[in-house]
């Protein structure tokens, strides 16, 4: 099971969405889709048509920059980061 860490600004958008949770998935996109099944609309917040990660959303897998197709190991850590930007 991959361990997914989500940005705090994402949590209020979905009732009961925790900051950290375990997901069974082979890729980052699959992990996002698993979470979309539990929290409908979750995918739309991180992924735009293509599919592609939204411009200010970054994903790190095991501390390295990843993308939607990045493969996950059985004990991978996935960090979803909302870019520090805006004013």
């Amino acid at each position: 099971m991959a361990e997914v860490h989500l940005p705090p600004v994402l949590l209020p958008l979905f009732q009961g969405l925790p900051r950290e949770l375990a997901v069974e998935a082979g890729t980052v996109l699959e992990a996002i889709d698993r979470l979309d099944e539990r929290w409908p609309g979750f995918r739309d917040r991180l992924v735009e048509p293509g599919p592609a990660l939204r411009p200010h959303i970054n994903v790190y897998v095991d501390r390295e920059r990843g993308g939607l197709e990045t493969e996950l190991g059985t004990a991978s850590r996935v960090d979803v980061i909302a870019a520090i930007s805006g004013g």
Partner: protein, 358 residues
């Protein structure tokens, strides 16, 4: 007992103001997780607040609240363009309008969506395929700043399939078949630039119909205009106003000849002329204008008001409200004769609407 509910959309979320007497207002918010709000409205039929919002991080969504803002949900299910649709990208939802049991949503690139389940899911109505100028208005390099795409939806109060939309920087259109076909409604409008197209290429900022929907007023990039035939033809009525530029405008809900507008400097500043905040009113359909500034800041008030920034309520003596792009909200309950500031200091205001709730 009824109360007035003001929805103040800002660049940092939505605020809900309530008052029983239209003098003392309570302020709640910011809602919608402080996403930039492009338009927020209260659907009189369902009692639901809908807000069109777009986050730099999380994309676009329609937010909804069935309890006047206490709790919220959001959805963008179905709001997006198919891969095969010429590669159109959706940068934001920029307008939302409930009408006749459905919810209409406008977006950039210019497209119209509808929801028939109260904002839970959406389907694409049209991206205006085949319409003259479509390629240009969907090209960000050829759009005016703001990149609003379909910037306004104006439903006819009785005819379900008849409504008007504005494509920012290009045209007012009318449909009478629910969005299947569109007719440009720009005859008589001024344009001070070379024409790439015959029937479109007019910078329509705001269209404010009277209650009968035959009389309409329009603030254009160049000039104030009036129509007496539901937008089929327009006549300029700028004379007597300090500038020909502005965004916000509102028609008196009970008097088709009375109309309000906030002229702004037409340069790139787009603030109150000479730093003198004022609303201008005509009571004779544009033959003459009065400057209304009692209670407004008239010195060094370099504030602007955006296209959805002014609204009337529906009282017998209607209240008129406007919000500035720097976050001040003003109200008048005496037809604009006097004004007072409402609420606190807000983030930049993008949308003001008001409703009466029992």
């Amino acid at each position: 007992m009824s109360k007035s509910v003001l929805l103040v959309g800002t660049r940092k979320g939505l605020f809900v103001l309530e008052s029983g007497d239209r003098r003392d207002w309570s302020v709640r918010g910011p809602y919608c997780e402080s996403w930039p709000i492009y338009q927020a409205v209260l659907d009189a039929e369902s009692g639901t607040i809908y807000a069109a919002a777009a986050s730099e991080w999380f994309g676009s969504a329609i937010w909804r609240s069935a309890d006047l803002g206490e709790t919220w949900e959001h959805s963008s299910e179905g709001i997006g363009y198919p891969e095969e649709d010429g590669g159109l990208k959706l940068s934001k939802v920029s307008s939302v309008m409930p009408a006749h049991g459905r919810l209409l949503v406008g977006a950039e690139s210019a497209g119209l969506f509808e929801s028939t389940d109260g904002g839970k899911t959406f389907s694409l109505v049209t991206t205006f395929e085949g319409q003259e100028g479509r390629e240009a208005w969907n090209d960000p390099a050829q759009q005016p700043p703001g990149h609003l795409g379909l910037s306004a939806i104006i439903p006819h109060p009785e005819e379900r399939d008849r409504f008007w939309i504005i494509v920012q920087g290009y045209s007012l259109f009318e449909t009478t078949d629910g969005g299947k076909t569109w007719t440009p409604r720009n005859k008589g409008l001024r344009r001070d630039w070379p024409a790439d197209y015959e029937e479109i290429g007019f910078c329509v900022h705001k269209v404010a119909p009277a209650a009968d929907f035959e009389r309409m007023y329009q603030q254009n990039h160049v000039g104030m205009h009036r129509s007496d035939d539901a937008g089929q033809t327009w006549t300029e009525i700028t004379e007597g106003l300090p500038t020909d530029f502005g965004f916000a405008a509102a028609t008196h809900p009970h008097d088709r000849d009375t109309f309000y507008v906030i002229p702004l400097d037409g340069g790139h500043g787009r603030t109150m002329p000479d730093g003198h905040a004022a609303v201008w009113r005509t009571r004779d359909a544009g033959s003459s204008w009065q400057q209304l500034d009692n209670g407004l800041p008239t010195d060094d008030a370099y504030v602007g008001v955006l296209r959805e920034g002014m609204a009337f309520d529906d009282h017998d003596e209607p209240g008129l409200y406007f919000g500035t792009s720097t976050g001040q909200l003003f109200g008048s309950t005496d037809e604009g004769e006097s004004w007072s500031q409402v609420g606190g200091l807000f983030p930049g205001i993008t949308s003001v609407t008001v409703a009466t709730v029992e």
